[in-house]
Assembly symmetry: C2
Homo-oligomer: 249 residues x 2
């Protein structure tokens, strides 16, 4: 479990730049996608219909915090642009000799740049056509998502989501594994449990034949440790055994 997506990166977070986006609905979906992972700077370059209509397209509300967005005619020269392309690098990549990065590597580099105080822009093209060669020529690198070549259906918001997820994933504060509310039994508790079961099972003739009894006990004792029971589990196993004996009378 993580405490959430508060960004601990040093330096500025990347701006998500939508180049010539068409539909307000898609811009809203892209905005929600990036905010899921704490990216809160959106720039629209020459949006077809201007800055989108807030209530209509489920535009993120004020609770999104320090959300900033603006429409502009070109990408800010103060940001280092990274171009995202659908599945394969476009022809421009070949002639322009740009590095083609996975989302993982691209966000690694973006984090390194941010840590050095640089501002990064991640560019996304219009919904259908994608970025044009002139857009790509301005970018420092090209990102392609490693999609299935036989089935490709990422939309604009999903592309933004994946890049924002990658940014977030690489944050140092993501907890990878937490065992929720677990209070494991101590070694002594597990040993006492093993003793209890061994004693009672011995009494009912479980360890038979006698030549195999020592081995069977060792296997059983090992099992209790291997199971890694919680304190509650240990209490439960004691209780179940007592109840079974009581029932037998």
């Amino acid at each position: 479990m993580t405490d959430g997506a508060r960004d601990v990166a040093e330096g500025p977070t990347p701006a998500i730049v939508l180049v010539r986006p068409q539909m307000g609905e898609n811009i809203g979906a892209a905005a929600r996608a990036m905010l899921n992972f704490g990216l809160d700077r959106m720039r629209l370059v020459a949006p077809r219909d201007g800055w989108p209509n807030r209530p209509r397209w489920r535009w993120p509300r004020a609770r999104a915090g320090c959300w900033t967005g603006q429409a502009c005619s070109t990408i800010s020269a103060r940001r280092l642009p990274i171009a995202t392309t659908s599945s394969r690098p476009p022809p421009a990549a070949a002639s322009l000799a740009k590095p083609v990065l996975s989302p993982e590597r691209a966000m690694e580099q973006a984090r390194a740049l941010a840590a050095a105080g640089k501002k990064v822009a991640v560019m996304f093209g219009p919904e259908r056509a994608g970025l044009e060669n002139d857009d790509i020529a301005r970018a420092n690198a090209i990102v392609t998502v490693p999609v299935n070549p036989e089935f490709f259906s990422l939309n604009l918001a999903q592309s933004v989501l994946l890049m924002a997820y990658e940014w977030r994933r690489q944050g140092g504060d993501v907890a990878h594994e937490v065992l929720a509310n677990t209070d494991f039994a101590s070694g002594i508790e597990v040993e006492k449990l093993a003793d209890h079961w061994e004693r009672e099972l011995d009494r009912v003739g479980f360890f038979f034949p006698e030549t195999k009894a020592a081995g069977m006990k060792r296997v059983l004792r090992n099992m209790w440790t291997r199971l890694g029971p919680t304190k509650s589990d240990v209490a439960r196993f004691h209780g179940m055994l007592r109840q079974l004996l009581r029932d037998r009378g």
Copy 2:
């Protein structure tokens, strides 16, 4: 660039299990999301309206390859289930003492299980409510996506997309960085370029005053190497210099 999402994992890929999904449209979107990253086994547990209507909900077509899908009443006991929850582990996590994993760690474990020949199921709850405690009780682990606690808007298809992306990202065949079609100049070519520029700049009196000339030359020579030019770049720099000299007459 990658050759695509052909899965090189040993063993079976995880099944995406939608538990009590409501809308055919969302099931179709989830199906497309997973196929983007080469996951091609979907199971619907007790879908409200049965198996979805193919043409209506942009259902993946045959070109998706070995796509399999089926509706069933319970999760197959032959698969090890992992439960995904929206943002925070549900109350059940606390009482059931299950590990809560990041998507990254969950897919690491899924790959390890697959490599050992085990079948994994990644469970997603109904669109609004999410998985119920009874569903979660059957799971080996709980996955939560590290979203922004102040802004959370992942839908079913986006959750499926992120898990499928994580599975794919960890595939051994994802290329992280390729410099498209780049033919770097050899050391000798760069050295000849440096010689050419130094010679001509010397002739026009660039290295002035004489006491600083050696240092200036060293900095310049270092620059050519550092730039890492391609063969085309080297030809271009030779050509530009020649043209400048020609123009001067």
